[in-house]
């Protein structure tokens, strides 16, 4: 049975639970908006990286650089779209 529960993935799962609980504290501890957002940004991006590397095996094949560049490119364009739009529509710049 133990062979079906590799250590790396079990540790990854536990770490992802810890990150989720850390994010939840934002709600249960009544943090300020700035503080809460800082915690959420850190936990969400750590969590996403964890999924990508531990569970999605992003770095295991010979195409790993193509995969990493593709994902990073997607994230960069995503962030530009989100923050560019916020700058124009919500922050009046």
């Amino acid at each position: 049975m133990a062979q079906f529960f590799p250590k790396g993935q079990v540790m990854g799962f536990i770490f992802s639970l810890v990150l989720t609980v850390a994010a939840m504290l934002v709600y249960f501890l009544d943090m300020s908006f700035g503080m809460g957002m800082a915690v959420l940004i850190i936990t969400a991006f750590l969590q996403a990286t964890l999924q990508l590397v531990v569970f999605m095996h992003a770095g295991e094949s010979e195409d790993k650089w193509a995969i990493y560049i593709n994902v990073v490119y997607g994230i960069v364009i995503a962030l530009m779209t989100v923050f560019g739009s916020l700058l124009i529509f919500n922050w009046d710049m």
Binding site: Q9, G12, M37, D63
Partner: protein, 199 residues
């Protein structure tokens, strides 16, 4: 017959299999953009609630936590399915995939309850800019999970019938990428829609 490199896991052994995995990663890049545009609309419209309710008024922590832990666990079990697949254990692969899909169904059930609840308390999709973008974002993710349930079921049937080979292992691996990706998207929904809305 295509060249088969048996030193690699089943899903990478043929060039076609390897390229399908790379191709799926590129598709996921496009999916990142799909959800990024939805998040953009949501963040822009978040405060435009008109006469309707705000996020803080309608979000409930209970169902959201259930959804989050259920989906995180399902992401773990699909990872275990791929691990079992690489050990050549067909039965364990199928069982882990079944657990994954059952958890996906629980997630979907809670989400459907949530949508019903929102409509019931006056936060339907036509109420305000906020509710439109909220329900579109959540609904697009939920639709992906729904599609994943059918897709995963089809792959389980294929593995049950044909066993683990270059083709079925490749399909199962690509499905696992899709499922993990949905979990990543949910983490952002959980953090920047629900928890941010309740701050």
């Amino acid at each position: 017959m295509a060249h088969v490199d048996t030193s690699k896991p089943l899903e990478y052994q043929t060039e076609e299999g390897r390229l399908k995995i790379l191709g799926f990663w590129i598709f996921l890049g496009a999916e990142i953009m799909l959800f990024a545009t939805l998040f953009t609309c949501y963040f822009v419209m978040e405060g435009r609630t008109g006469n309707g309710p705000t996020g803080a008024e309608i979000f409930e922590i209970g169902p959201v936590l259930i959804e989050t832990f259920v989906l995180l666990t399902s992401s773990f079990t699909i990872g275990l399915a791929i691990h079992a697949m690489r050990l050549g254990a067909k039965k364990a692969t199928i069982n882990f995939m079944i657990v994954t899909l059952l958890l996906g169904a629980v997630f979907l059930g809670v989400e459907i309850y949530e949508f019903y609840h929102y409509a019931h308390i006056g936060a339907g999709i036509t109420v305000s800019g906020f509710t439109s973008t909220l329900l579109t974002t959540l609904g697009t993710h939920g639709l992906h999970v729904t599609f994943g349930l059918f897709w995963g079921t089809a792959i389980i049937l294929q593995i049950a019938k044909r066993g683990l080979n270059n083709v079925t292992a490749n399909k199962a691996f690509i499905f696992s990428l899709y499922w993990h990706f949905l979990d990543v998207v949910w983490i952002f929904i959980f953090s920047f829609i629900y928890l941010k809305g309740m701050l």
